[in-house]
Symmetry: D4
Subunit: 170 residues, 8 copies
């Protein structure tokens, strides 16, 4: 993955079992040419490393941190406690409650420590990448243009699907 350039986005996950759902996040960042890194860091199992990661993120040049976790998902919140970079939380649907536990554990942050939460699972993971791009694009016109282009492509694909359906129906 694109770690030769200075890494701009950190994707961290509470567990390697989150990787299948998060792969689309990494691929989307790659598609935008945004250098990123992926780490397994757990708010509960490796709290020191997690805090350390968050605290040094800005000085290492990171601009956004994307944190994915399931169940009592504390990862994004703990990262946000140790860094003032924008933190995007992706609730994972692990466990039996289909991610509603992870969603509430991620989004219901107390006043003072925001987490930018996206939807549960792989859809949210992809959106986390786009949100990171949008954030960096506020100061990067070329990235902003790519993001606009992505939107245009999205519309195009939706229209093609519609056309394909029309053909099938007639």
């Amino acid at each position: 993955m694109a770690e030769t350039e200075a890494v701009k986005v950190g994707i961290i996950m509470g567990s390697d079992s989150d990787w299948p759902a998060m792969k689309g996040c990494a691929e989307t960042l790659k598609e935008f040419g945004v250098p990123f890194e992926v780490r397994i860091l757990s708010a509960h199992r490796t709290p020191e490393e997690t805090a350390q990661y968050a605290k040094t993120a800005r000085e290492r040049g990171l601009q956004v941190i994307i944190a994915a976790a399931g169940m009592a998902a504390h990862l994004a919140g703990v990262i946000a406690a140790h860094s003032t970079l924008p933190v995007i939380g992706v609730p994972m649907a692990s466990g039996t409650l289909q991610g509603i536990d992870a969603l509430l554990s991620t989004v219901q942050m107390p006043p003072g420590i925001p987490v930018a939460t996206v939807g549960i699972g792989a859809s949210g993971a992809l959106n986390a990448a786009l949100l990171a791009v949008e954030i960096m694009a506020t100061a990067d016109e070329s990235l902003a243009k790519k993001r606009e282009q992505y939107q245009v492509e999205l519309a195009k694909k939706a229209k093609q699907k519609n056309e394909k359906l029309q053909e099938e129906l007639h």
Copy 2:
């Protein structure tokens, strides 16, 4: 409010009844010296104006849009459909379901169109302002420092509350 400088953040609300919960958002942006504007725009009652607002936001110089709505809260999603700026969604606790409807309507966006969702109600509103600051601070070192200072003050206040409690208990 600070609209003499070029406005950087748009706070939009689905209804004027959202203002009491959103006031803290505006005050926090003011505290950080971030020029912002406040608009009542409804995804359902004034859809044209809402789309227009979103579509012209970037060219008007906005960097972040904060959208607050309750119940079937479509406002943030509709804004995100018409702009590739970062959109922060604040679910309001109107109606009888205490905001769980607004939370799901805001956060569960389909892949391709992210909304950065914060917690329900006034806590989320304040966090939306901080998140907007963090986003802009990725390219504004002085704002980044103010944001770090805010975190320090937050910790200080928490410690003072602890000290006050210690005095009361002994």
Copy 3:
């Protein structure tokens, strides 16, 4: 499908993945001889086309719009914002939350902009077709009779199932 006659009902879906659940809706309209069209239109990916569709629906002769979407299902609401035709919303069970997100996002509309919401998934899809028929039947006696006949058949089938069960049990 029956688009030679003037189309009366528009079935729109946020994604082609909604088609399996929505097929029964189309088939039921066909069964009633109601001319309809099917479109993939997304409140988020193709917002302009969606708005345009809704705004021109009445002048194109449509009488009812059926809108199906999952997750943060804004499609029916956005259509209702741009048209005063009756809009029927069908919540899809995509994502991990089994459609409860789509249900709340569809039904909890703010005062002024109604969406006639039916149940989650394929059952709701079929009912959407029947509801469209009932709406048009308020001014079409022959359609009203067909609708009554459908009810009679429904009862007959239920009774046959009962009889079959009686035979199996004795």
Copy 4:
């Protein structure tokens, strides 16, 4: 109330305690000049009268039935079982569960018997009236125009609220 003309809409409620929430429904129909009647009919306490009401509704000239009930809200479903007129269900927030019980009891109808469900409580009640208007307007151009005008007024009011807020903020 406007019962001199032939009644077009029946508003029925499971209990007189639903009247405060349903008043806005009646007032909105009045505003549109739609003749309506209001009845207390219970699926559980007066099942015969309820069935009778539903079965004779079409021949009495009714075009839409609006049914409001709370808790295990069976009223709309029972009406729909006995009539093929469009039935609009309004879930009431009685009991301790804030209307989520009434919403599910109203919307999750089995295939074959649709109920057009609107949101919980007074917002839903107002929307039920508008939906009834929209249904009748499919065959009544003058009503369709009034409905469009209502939408325009709604937008106007939202814009005035925005303007008032702008004045307060500056």
Copy 5:
């Protein structure tokens, strides 16, 4: 099934798809020697037959009615509206919401019309049979003894399972 003797319990289901879950209910009644009948009757598709069934149940000698239905499960409530026999409601887990809709639609009855609700699905179905037995046993000492014996057997089986586990573990 044991319909030669005068039938004492009516098992009714909204759909034949409920039969797999309800079979254990019938088998348990058989085990207790309680004569019963099974009917498919729908509150929505065959409302007249359902009302008729309920209204004539007492004069036909029935003592308890067990009603199983899924989604917006109105069956037990509608039966209870037309009969003052004890009505036991069994929520079925059809649809995507796993029976929470059926549970609330069955149990949250308004004051005046009780439904004795048991758990969701097959467990509830079996318990419905036992509850029917307990009700009839209040005036039938021999049935009461069988019921007590069942409890004793239940305990015995649980103890055997424990003993088997002990053997496996050592």
Copy 6:
């Protein structure tokens, strides 16, 4: 209260704070002339007394036990574990979760040990009394007649409310 005659129904509550909600249950039994007793017994605080109460209930002549409790409401289940009399569970809305915890804790009994569950709070409490009457009425024709009469009165009152509303509206 009517304890001179042999007590037929035991109303037990987990806490004296449940009494306001349960009063209507006692009053309804009184209205039907059913001798009953009221006890505070806790599955958790007085487990021995609770088990003893359940185990001796049948020999003391009780026919039905009504058990009301909130939160992790184990009372009805524990009573049902120790008695094969019909046990009616009334979930109380104590705590912050509005009774959904008590409802699930009462109704979701494992196969073999039924609890006849009614709705949450005071509505359920009243229905518990009616259900107890219905159970006893399966072997008591005079009670069955009173129960039918109650239903008739209920309908009458609903009709009077409707008439009163008609007067108010015209």
Copy 7:
């Protein structure tokens, strides 16, 4: 409070607004003569102090840590990540979701890092104290006796409430 003796239990709260609900926890520990301390420590606002508190707790002689927090309640989990002392989590009912967010955020810990979770709010707070006592009583016979005595008193009070009710009813 009893900090002269070596402190055995640490009560920590995310915010001073949790104190009213947690007071009963402190009072119960006092009642048992267990020396304790109370601290305001936030997983998000003072993460360093929180980690430090957890890491030094064992060497400072603490035996149990009770952590109370609301919303996305990470406090107990973060403490458990930094200490292997038994950690008791008390979900607070702050915010609009009545503590269901805090409950899931506290109890749904990933494998490896347990939090002993009690009920929401003041009831849970009191139980946290008793649980702490029970834990310490596993190695302190005199405390075990006090705990047993507490249970006896609890039963006595429940019986007195029952007696008082009996008097009121007769």
Copy 8:
């Protein structure tokens, strides 16, 4: 299993179907060298044995009881009613509601009778073992060290997973 030494922990389950989820609990205790026993005991099917087990647990030398049950999970609560040993409740995900019923039935205990609740299913089962170890380790330094070592291993494994991922990604 290790019952030669004096048993310290009792693992009890409501049903043998809970064993697959609870196996990890037993294995973890074994890993720590903690002697334990496993029993099937049901609050509903074998209430006497369950009460007896709880009442004699302390005198038999047990220090902690772990109780696993699904649906209306009363087992842990009933154990806690009969013993003042620390009781750990593990909600099982049996039935259709994925364990949310068992969670609420286990954790929402009334004031006075705590249950230390862990997460739903196998994750919670493993954590129950660790919590039992932590409780006993408050008075057993060697066990405390093993527990700390477990935490260290957990961190090590998480780091290895991270390293493995790094290799895969580059």
